[in-house]
Each structure stands twice: as C-alpha cells, then as structure tokens.
C-alpha cells in the first residue's frame, strides 16, 4: 500500500469514526434528554396525583354535595324557562330594566382554529344559559341583583360579565351571561368515576 493510499485510508477512517461518534453521541444524548423529559413529566404528574389523592376526601365531599344539591330539570327548555323567570323577577325586584335577553344554545368548546373541539371532555352538568343586556343601570342595583341571583344552592352562575361605564351618575352598560347548572335526569349523569 502506497503512502498516499495509507493517508487516504486514514482520512476516510477518521471521517467514518468521527461521523459515527458524533452521530451516535447525538443520538444517545437526544435519547437521554427525551427520557429525562419524560421522567420530569411523570414526576410532575405523580406529584399532582399524590396531591389529588391526599385531598381526595375533600373533593369527594364536594362531589357528594354537588350531586345532592344540583337541581333536576326535565329538559333544557324547562331549565331555561326557570332561569329566565328567576333572572327577570329579581331584576324587577331591584328596579332593573333588562334591555335584551337571549337564550344561548349549549355550545361546544372551540379550538384555536375556530372549529368545535372533537375530543372535548364530557360535561358533568347539563347547562342552560341566557345572555342579558342592560343599558344605563346603576352600579349598586346591578351588584345587588347579581348578589341575589348567585347562591351556591341555586347552581346559577355568571359565566360572562362585561361592564362599560356610561360616564354619568355611576351608571353602566352591562352584558351578562347566566348559566344554570343542572341534571336533566333524576339520577346523576354517568361519569368516568362511576
């Protein structure tokens, strides 16, 4: 073998081993980092699971309370009618004039692309919702009305509130969405836990 051939062979061998080493090293390092990431993820998940299990009794008690106290309606129409009636009655009680009221269809979650989510988690409750618009109402009357409407036992909650002051006499323009959480059937809805 000539000297030039030896040199060429040496260069090729060095290149081969260099590439093999760098490639193998990069692969091994990437694999290690992936495993580390998974370990970190599992550790976080385990910690949150342990915390959840530690608080299990509290959450179970709350779940029992929800099941025992959640109102039962025969249909969404029934729930919506009851919700509308309660909202309107209490508004009158506080001297508020509801400008517009709109029944809202139960909407599915929307993804970043604007399309409904396919794999959205199953809801635990049935919901009936309305949107009300009030114009130039007193702040004090508004909050008294909201306070009277929201009682934990009623399962009626504000799920959207937009306030824009009119700029005079402490009055505001308000857009509120109310949601009634309920169970449609007599028995609680089947959940994953069951």
């Amino acid at each position: 073998m000539k000297k030039s051939e030896k040199v060429l062979l040496g260069v090729f061998a060095a290149l081969f081993f260099g590439i093999a080493l760098i490639g193998g090293g990069a692969f091994a390092l990437r694999h290690y980092l992936e495993v580390r990431d998974e370990v970190d993820l599992l550790r976080d998940r385990l910690a949150s699971m342990n915390l959840a299990v530690a608080q299990g009794a509290d959450w179970a008690a709350r779940s029992v309370w929800l099941e025992e106290n959640a109102p039962r309606f025969t249909s969404n129409k029934d729930a919506s009618a009851k919700l509308l009636e309660r909202v309107s009655n209490l508004a009158q009680t506080h001297g508020l004039m509801i400008g517009t009221t709109e029944l809202l269809e139960p909407a599915r979650g929307v993804g970043a692309d604007g399309l409904p989510l396919e794999d959205e988690e199953e809801s635990h409750f049935d919901k009936a919702a309305i949107r009300t618009i009030l114009t130039g109402v007193s702040e004090q009357a508004l909050f008294a009305w909201l306070h009277d409407l929201q009682k934990p036992q009623s399962f009626l909650g504000v799920t959207r509130l937009q306030i824009n002051p009119t700029g005079s006499d402490k009055t505001v323009n308000v857009e509120v969405e109310f949601t009634q959480f309920y169970y449609e059937k007599a028995v609680p809805k089947v959940t994953k836990a069951n």
């Binding site: 799920t159 509130l161 306030i163 959480f181 994953k192």
Partner: protein
C-alpha cells in the same frame, strides 16, 4: 536472603572487535554485560541511566593553547575549529571544551567535537541519556601514549598529565612500521603546536606489535598490559549528543505525545460514553419506576380528578371565590386603583380584560404592575402593552389575561 540490587547505569562501548555492554555505578569500575555485533549495540530494558561511548572515529579530539579569559575558551575553540575546517555545531551537544592546564594566562584546552556520523545503535527503542568519548571511559596513564583496538581499528590516545588531550584512529590496521610512522608524525605535529608535554610512557592494550621495534621507533619503552575495565562516567560529565539521537528523541517524544493525546481522547470518549450510558440507564430505571407508580395511583387519582373537574365546571355558580364580583374586588385591591377610571371590564371564568385611564403614566404603570403581581389575580397571568399617554398627561392602560388550561 537479601536481594542484590542491579546496577542502575549501563555503558555501551566499542570493544576491540564488537560492541560491548557494561554495567556499574557512576564513577566506579564496570562489570561486563553482553556483547553485540560490530555494527552496533542496544541498551537493556532495566537500566535507569544509559551511557553511550562512541568510538574515536566519531570525534575530533584536538588540543590547543588559547590565551585569554577562561570564559572565552569556548568561543576561541569554535574559531579554532572553523580555522581548521572542522564543520560542527556550536552548542554544548556538539562541542565540548575543557581546560587541561594553564600557564602565563594561556590555557591548554582539549576540544572534543562530534563528527556528523550515524550513531551505531541496533535498536532505537531505548536511547542513551548521555554520550561520551570511548577513551574517556578508561584510566589512561599520565603523560603517555596508549594504543588500543576499537572495532578492529587501532586507536592512539595521548594524555597531558592525567587528561586526555588527543585521540585518533590510525590509518594502519596493524601495529606495524606504518602505524609507528603515523604515530611519530602525530607526536611531531603536536610537538610543533606546543601542546605535547614530555611523554613518559607508551602503553599497549593490545597483543600486537614488536616491543623492540616500537622502542626504536618512538624512543619510549612500551608497556603491554590487558585493557582495563571501563569506568562509568559521572552523571552530567558530558553534554555531547549526536544530532540524529536528538532528532530520534524528538520523534519519539512526538510519538509519545501523540500516543498520550490519543489515549487521553480515547479515555475521555470512553468516560463520556460510560457516563451517558449510566445516566440513560438510571433515567430509564427511574422512568419505569415512575410509570409503575403512576399506573398504581391512576385509578384513585382519576376519581379525584373527576370530582375536581365537576367542581370547577360548576364553580361559577357554587364557589364565591370564583365569582366576577370577587375578581372585580381583587382588581380594586391595589391602592392606586382609587385613581383609576375603568372604561371597560370583561370577565369569564377563563379570561379577563380591563381597559382604564389614569391621571398620569406613572400611576398607570404602578396600577398595571400591581395587577400583574397580585396574588389573587395571578391565575389570569395579566399582561398588556405600555400605557398610552394622552396630551393632557393622562394615560390609558389595557390588561388582558387567560387562565392556564393546566390549572383546571
């Protein structure tokens, strides 16, 4: 039984016909070791110090009188060599200069210069630590001439007092009339130069030569005896080193360095591979353990998580801390909020936005910073652009934020 310690120094020198190895302690008489061929020898593995005595054919050994300071002897010797047409290097490894005697400010100086001859080593694996002249390894008779054989050639060594001042191989291969004539010429020449003192004796370390003829030719009574054992040179007595040995040493040092770097790189590589493999194995072990734990706890945790999801779904109705009134109160909590005029406030359980106006930019900054750092509002991760300053120095600010999905 006490273990005999091997001599630490080894001397390789040209014998009468072949190269010989000798061992011994520095400054003392040596013991014979092995014999090699006439072409060269090699050092053994166990010796700690290796001395190579080169034959007279590898040196110029010249005496000369130099007048001047002792520290200038070397420069004068180099000029002397140049004048005589001897080509050699000018450092300590090529030329050794030693004052033998001094008189009236002049110094009788012995100059030993290496010739450019290849070093006769049959094995370059173990190189000599020191190189010296063969004749310097023997106790030569004072003010005398010594004739001995060196790898088949006759060599004559001449001393002034106890010091060697001249040594050269003879042209004649036998100690015959030609050799004696050459010896007489040498003595005549040295006498003309004034470097030869009164010769007292002539020693033959060889069986050759007719004693009567030698006496008649030289005028000295020859004394024939066995060649004595060599004396191991003292450490550092010679700094001479042939150039090819220096190059070979540099080459070996380069190879050793390359080997060291290659081994170091290999060791580092092996350590890195081992480290990554170990870390990966440990991480895999931990991952498998965590997977098992997660799988074990999953049914109970899943049930609890289901309860939590149900609670958070109904939270806008059943949890007062999640109601918009509470969030509005939290927005009014900072001290600077007293100066704020809110022009728009929108809330859902998942997000919140706020637009308002402040009398000054500094108040607006203070308020927005207070909202950002508010513990009660931290779940919304509020953020917004810098306040916009109007012509009346009032500032409009805007904050927006959304609930992280994980918190649910």
């Amino acid at each position: 039984m006490a273990r005999t310690r091997k001599p630490s120094s080894e001397l390789l020198l040209p014998g009468a016909t072949v190269w010989q190895g000798w061992t011994g302690a520095a400054g003392s008489s040596c013991q014979p070791g092995g014999e090699f061929t006439a072409s060269g020898g090699s050092f053994s593995r166990e010796s700690q110090r290796r001395v190579l005595a080169l034959p007279a054919t590898h040196f110029w050994v010249l005496p000369a009188w130099f007048k001047g300071e002792p520290e200038h002897l070397r420069s004068m010797a180099l000029l002397h060599l140049e004048r005589m047409g001897v080509k050699t290097g000018d450092d300590e490894t090529c030329v050794q200069v030693q004052s033998v005697a001094s008189k009236d400010g002049a110094h009788l100086t012995r100059v030993i210069a290496l010739k450019d001859e290849p070093v006769p080593m049959s094995d370059n694996t173990r190189l000599p630590d020191e190189v010296t002249h063969h004749a310097l390894c023997y106790p030569l008779v004072q003010n005398g001439i010594t004739i001995f054989r060196e790898l088949g050639r006759l060599v004559v060594a001449i001393t002034s007092g106890p010091q060697l001042v001249y040594c050269t191989p003879l042209s004649s291969l036998r100690l015959d009339e030609n050799a004696l004539t050459e010896l007489n010429n040498i003595c005549l020449q040295l006498g003309f130069q004034g470097v030869l003192g009164r010769l007292e004796s002539l020693v033959l370390w060889t069986d050759e030569g007719d004693i009567d003829k030698i006496r008649r030719a030289t005028g000295l009574t020859p004394y024939r005896c066995e060649m004595p054992s060599p004396t191991m040179p003292e450490r550092g007595s010679s700094l001479l080193m042939p150039e090819d040995l220096i190059l070979e040493r540099q080459r070996q040092a380069g190879h050793a360095r390359t080997r060291f770097f290659a081994l170091t790189a290999g060791a580092v590589l092996a350590a890195v591979v081992t480290l990554i493999a170990t870390l990966t194995a440990l991480a895999l072990q931990e991952r498998n353990m965590l997977r098992e734990k997660v799988a074990g706890i999953m049914p109970r945790a899943s049930r609890v998580m289901d309860h939590k999801r149900a609670w958070f779904e109904a939270a806008p109705a059943v949890d007062p801390s999640m109601w918009p009134q509470q969030v509005l109160l939290d927005c009014m909590e900072p001290e600077s909020s007293k100066e704020a005029s809110i022009t728009h406030w929108e809330w859902t359980p998942d997000q919140m936005s706020l637009i308002g106006r402040m009398p000054s930019a500094s108040l607006a900054l203070e308020y927005t910073q207070a909202l950002k750092t508010s513990e009660a509002l931290a779940r919304f991760e509020l953020d917004g652009p810098p306040p916009v300053i109007a012509s009346d120095q009032s500032a409009t600010f805007e904050m927006k934020g959304g609930l992280a999905r994980e918190e649910e």
